[in-house]
């Protein structure tokens, strides 16, 4: 516990030094990486620990982004709007979890995937509140300079990632983490041993939603402009999963390492292949799955592992 915590503090201190480089593009990449980190760490609660293949990240992200944006549009201060986004995501995850976590395997995956689609269309349709397909503009925070803005959002995302990571450290060693492992291994046996599986799964789902919701709100403030297809992008869900698979290793650092690795790969491929970068990314994914199954499989997938 202590060793992990120390390593984490060192890692985050290292990341926190990035603004010293003074390069705004690196700042942007750093902020994106931390956002990816939040996505991966959060997915790990429900996907890695409880073993439920959730594709709901995009739903939480979009919900958070729009909650934060609409709240700010209605005059709520930024920090409060972010908090509100977290609360909305938390409550939504609780309600959604109660309904969907009874499903297993592919069925849960599909249902959670579709939630983002439904939310996107609802947001799209609520033109009065959200601007619908025309998108939504956010007030630009009154900060000294654009550079200061970049630094501010970087640290905001860093703080969120650190919080999510600290939560992982605590959960892994808690009753909740233990119970989730039992559920992941054999849900009905866990039930027979006195684990309140519904409550634990919903708790994990809520943890997987709350930080992503706040990340969405920070992201909306950072970009000043959001539109439904961008924030309810199914790729947020897919990327979260791929990152955890990549970093994997079942360790608490897995998601973080996966996020850094994935962003680096994405950036390298994007830079070097103009027309075929998605194809190259696809090839990389295929190769990883085919030839690094050990690395990828070190996470045990519980109920959905068994066909």
């Amino acid at each position: 516990m202590k060793r992990d915590a120390l390593a984490a503090v060192a890692l985050f201190a290292l990341i926190a030094a990035l603004p010293l480089s003074g390069d705004s593009y690196w700042m942007r990449l750093g902020t994106t990486m931390l956002m990816y980190g939040v996505l991966a760490i959060s997915w790990n609660f429900i996907g890695g620990m409880a073993g439920y293949p959730s594709f709901a990240s995009a739903a939480f992200f979009g919900l958070g982004a729009y909650t934060g944006a609409v709240a700010q549009k209605l005059g709520v201060p930024m920090a409060l709007a972010w908090g509100l986004a977290g609360i909305f995501a938390l409550a939504f995850a609780a309600a959604l979890g109660l309904a969907l976590l009874r499903l297993r395997g592919h069925y849960f995956a599909i249902a959670s995937l579709v939630v983002a689609e439904v939310l996107r269309e609802l947001v799209n349709a609520a033109t009065d509140l959200t601007g619908g397909g025309m998108g939504l503009n956010l007030p630009i925070p009154r900060l000294a300079s654009v550079q200061a803005q970049a630094v501010f959002f970087f640290y905001a995302m860093l703080a969120l990632a650190a919080l999510a990571f600290a939560t992982t450290l605590v959960v892994v060693r808690s009753r909740l983490g233990f119970g989730l492992r039992c559920i992941q291994q054999n849900e009905s046996a866990a039930d027979m041993l006195g684990v309140n599986t519904t409550r634990y799964k919903v708790a994990a789902f809520m943890l997987s939603g709350v930080f992503v919701g706040v990340a969405g709100a920070i992201y909306a403030s950072w970009l000043h402009y959001i539109e439904p297809p961008d924030v309810f992008d199914v790729l947020y869900s897919v990327k979260a999963i791929v990152m955890v698979l990549l970093g994997g290793a079942g360790s608490v650092f897995g998601p973080l390492v996966g996020a850094a690795l994935f962003l680096s790969l994405e950036e390298l491929v994007w830079r070097n292949y103009l027309q075929v970068h998605t194809g190259v990314l696809g090839l990389l994914i295929v190769l990883l799955v085919m030839f690094l199954p050990r690395g990828l499989m070190s996470l045990r997938f519980g109920v959905w592992g068994r066909a």
Partner: protein, 288 residues
């Protein structure tokens, strides 16, 4: 009268949907693989029909005959060569695998065909059939009929042929089928081939109706998800019922709630059905 026309629209659309989903459902049910490639297969089938018509003047109805063996071979090779290696892995990995393959295929199509939308225009057009005040486009109608015939044929193959019965046996109980001497891996490859065949053939049919572009794959894939859940996995009649249901629901949904909500409605329906009846409207229990 309005309702009657909308019901007709919905049923015709639903017939096409059934064909989109049949192969996807089969692969999901038998292999327990969510084939993300399915949408791109349909698009590829569309391009095949488009070029067959624009270059060689081959009617899309005949293009199916070319598409069928080609796509079967493509699917068979893909499964035997790649996916079979991963078949025992957790479902999320096979899903990720087909997702990666799909990124490659759709990118390849983008480079090869460009993103421009194309449309196969039959010359002369097949026209419109009028039944009183009811109007039915003949191209859609015949494509639907052919789609349903194709789906029916798949059903017959599964029910009557030796290989079809082996597929059904593997779907019911993999271990037992293996004990009875069924070569499970070969059955997987054949099943995936059949799935690809259905995708390619339905793509060829849809080319007459929808504009084709590498970008529309995900739209078809989304429909296939919904239909599978509505109808239940791995069952061909399920895909038919699911497809027709979706077509009618979307049509009346657009009428009652406005066209912007038609898609939302179908997805909401999916979630509700999953929560209330996880095995689908026709499905049997016991599938994971």
């Amino acid at each position: 009268m309005l309702s009657l026309q909308i019901l007709a629209n919905g049923l015709i659309l639903g017939g096409l949907y059934a064909c989109i989903a049949a192969g996807f459902s089969l692969v999901w049910g038998v292999l327990n693989v969510i084939n993300i490639l399915h949408g791109s297969f349909i698009v590829l089938g569309g391009y095949l029909a488009f070029f067959a018509y624009s270059i060689a003047g081959i009617h899309p109805f005949l293009a199916i005959l070319i598409a069928a063996p080609l796509f079967f071979a493509l699917g068979y090779v893909l499964q035997a060569g790649l996916i079979n290696r991963m078949i025992a892995a957790p479902v999320l990995l096979t899903l990720t695998l087909t997702f990666g393959l799909d990124l490659m295929l759709s990118n390849a199509m983008l480079v090869a065909f460009s993103a421009d939308f194309r449309k196969l225009i039959l010359e002369p057009p097949l026209g419109v059939l009028s039944l009183g005040a009811l109007v039915l486009p003949v191209d859609r109608l015949s494509a639907m009929a052919l789609a349903l015939a194709l789906t029916g044929l798949l059903y017959l193959v599964l029910a009557r042929s030796r290989i079809g019965r082996a597929i059904v046996a593997v779907r019911m109980d993999r271990e037992a089928a293996a004990l009875m001497g069924v070569n499970v891996r070969r059955i997987y490859a054949v099943t995936f081939g059949l799935g690809a065949l259905m995708a390619g053939a339905s793509g060829a049919l849809l080319a007459m109706i929808f504009p084709i572009s590498p970008l529309v794959g995900p739209v078809y894939l989304g429909k296939a998800f919904v239909i599978c859940v509505l109808g239940g996995l791995g069952s061909v009649p399920g895909a038919m019922i699911g497809g027709l249901t979706l077509g009618v629901v979307e049509s009346f949904g657009a009428l009652w709630f406005g066209p912007e909500h038609a898609v939302t409605l179908s997805f909401t329906l999916l979630i509700v059905v999953l929560v209330i009846r996880p095995s689908g409207l026709l499905g049997r229990k016991g599938y994971e």
